[in-house]
Point group: C2
Chain length 340, copies 2
């Protein structure tokens, strides 16, 4: 007995009005078109019957699904759950739901998911997939779909976006290391075809230059992915060079964990021999030994702000494109120590 499902007509009948009138009474936007008395009669009838508008029929009519597509590389990356929650929570307050799609950093898969979402008539997209050049962007914009970027920005500032200020975050880390006496600071940079990888590497170079410090090429290594293994590999390479570095700035926390591994393997202690900093302050990273010094920002807020930016577009706001930079915060833990 899958419940008869009460529809608008039933409400109208019970209230003794025409369905059209009931529709107007039920919709806050049009309620003022109806006499207060009938309106309350309709509302009462609806409540009594437990009426729930059929969103499918409504969507067919209004051509809005109240659904947004969210593309992320991988939900298993601990960075994303809080972001997604922020998104969903904020979207929910406006009656929207999120369709989550994982791309695994694979362009083909990304396109497929994108198309499936389009087929489902999502009203807009939130993209957190990080590859810098991406034809999807142009395509979505051309199709008139509202798009918001997360954790990356469009090179030409042509799209609304929310991201942490990566450059500033790295600068805070380098200042911290320098204040501890470190001079020979290495960089385990993230992939350079990814927005965050590039921005943080640039930030590193800028911060070092600002501190008047040299960065010989043998103190920089580029990871092919934000993974522990790549962090380990890059760090090992740098250590093998025998340049006597005393600190490592990793492109994110995962790479920093890889640095831990490499130091272990090389018989070096953190922070006694080498200090390490990460980026992101991802969940549980404070449980490591030693707890990692890193840059934090509100992941949840990235989600809520991105949702808000999209909702603004969805509501027809047509103002200038907003790009939000969230403030980074240096979290000093025990992976950094004064140079002795």
């Amino acid at each position: 007995m899958p419940e008869p499902a009460v529809k608008l007509r039933d409400v109208a009948t019970l209230a003794g009005v025409h369905p059209a009138t009931a529709s107007r009474a039920l919709n806050p936007e049009t309620r003022l078109l109806v006499s207060e008395e009938t309106a309350s009669r309709v509302l009462a009838a609806a409540a009594k019957l437990g009426y729930r508008p059929n969103p499918v029929a409504r969507s067919l009519r209004t051509r809005r699904s109240h659904t947004v597509g969210v593309l992320i590389p991988d939900l298993n990356n601990p960075l994303f759950p809080p972001i997604v929650r922020g998104l969903e929570d904020r979207l929910a307050t406006a009656g929207y739901v999120a369709l989550i799609g994982n791309t695994d950093g694979d362009d083909a898969r990304e396109r497929k998911v994108f198309e499936q979402m389009r087929a489902r008539h999502v009203d807009g997209y939130v993209l957190a997939t990080a590859h810098l050049r991406n034809p999807l962007l142009a395509e979505a914009v051309r199709a008139g779909m509202p798009v918001v970027l997360m954790n990356r920005i469009a090179e030409d500032y042509s799209l609304p976006a929310v991201t942490v200020d990566n450059e500033r975050g790295v600068k805070m880390e380098i200042s911290h290391l320098v204040s501890l006496g470190h001079r020979k600071i290495a960089c385990v940079a993230g992939p350079q075809d990814v927005s965050t990888g590039l921005a943080r590497y640039r930030g590193f170079q800028a911060a070092m230059a600002a501190a008047g410090l040299e960065v010989p090429p043998n103190r920089v290594a580029f990871a092919r992915a934000f993974s522990i293994e790549e962090g380990r590999r890059c760090t090992s390479e740098i250590l093998a060079d025998g340049d006597g570095i005393t600190a490592i700035a990793a492109g994110n926390d995962m790479l920093a964990v890889g640095s831990y591994r490499a130091l272990d393997q090389a018989g070096l202690a953190c922070p006694a021999d080498v200090s390490v900093v990460g980026f992101n302050d991802m969940p549980f990273i404070d449980m490591l030994r030693p707890p990692l010094t890193t840059v934090a920002f509100s992941h949840y807020q990235v989600g809520t702000e991105a949702a808000q930016l999209l909702l603004d577009r969805l509501n027809g706001s047509t103002g200038p494109v907003k790009v939000l930079y969230l403030a980074p915060e240096l979290i000093v833990r025990s992976s950094t120590a004064r140079l002795s």
Copy 2:
């Protein structure tokens, strides 16, 4: 220019057939009702125009949204991302998408999310919310909605479910500890109004009894939540009793981390003084110091199996209710050591 959107009628026109015929040709289920020749003509026309069926219209007509509601306590719990991915991946192969709802363990919020999903006409539910007694279940079943449980089972086996064999997992841990010479084993149990908390506590008592070991009440503490802080509190209580325990079986990995903290505070070393085991083998738990001995199972598979169970129901399968117990695996790391 939000693209004119090609519809069925356009395809029909181009193929020179009636929309109804085009519909039949396009739908694999009904294609055999149409001559092969016209079918291919329609298909060609559709391809040429880039036709995408409007799922909203289709849903209105067929009364199936190809959408399922997934209720979980909190996406930020690292256990869930892999489960959700398993779900989504499997559902996607059948053309379904998941709507994720976080309940935060709050019954009121759970009901709200449940209702919102119902309003969106989800075709079924996957519930991973853990509270044992839950009126939602009866309600959903009464409404004729397919429901599958994850990480818990219905007490009377009345609903399809996927879960790890908690009792067996705990038994493996206790056997492991006993084989290392431990006898005074404490239990930091999870909340008893939660399926996994209860099952693992029962498993603990059963395993201890089977090993012929006593469990005085002062060696058991019940956490009010699966949190680090509760694990710390419970462990501290047990330690304060001065009973000289040599091992702790925690209700899950978070509680085990709390045990680490409490041991630290008490000036005890793990595993030198006290061995600790967790449950779940959650992501990144192997990065702790010391790496945690725990019980693993495929989280991803929990998701895929649950999805499959639901799809079976959705496809009208009406066989007996299946309850799947995934095999647990003991992962021995460095938090357990031979009693010296």
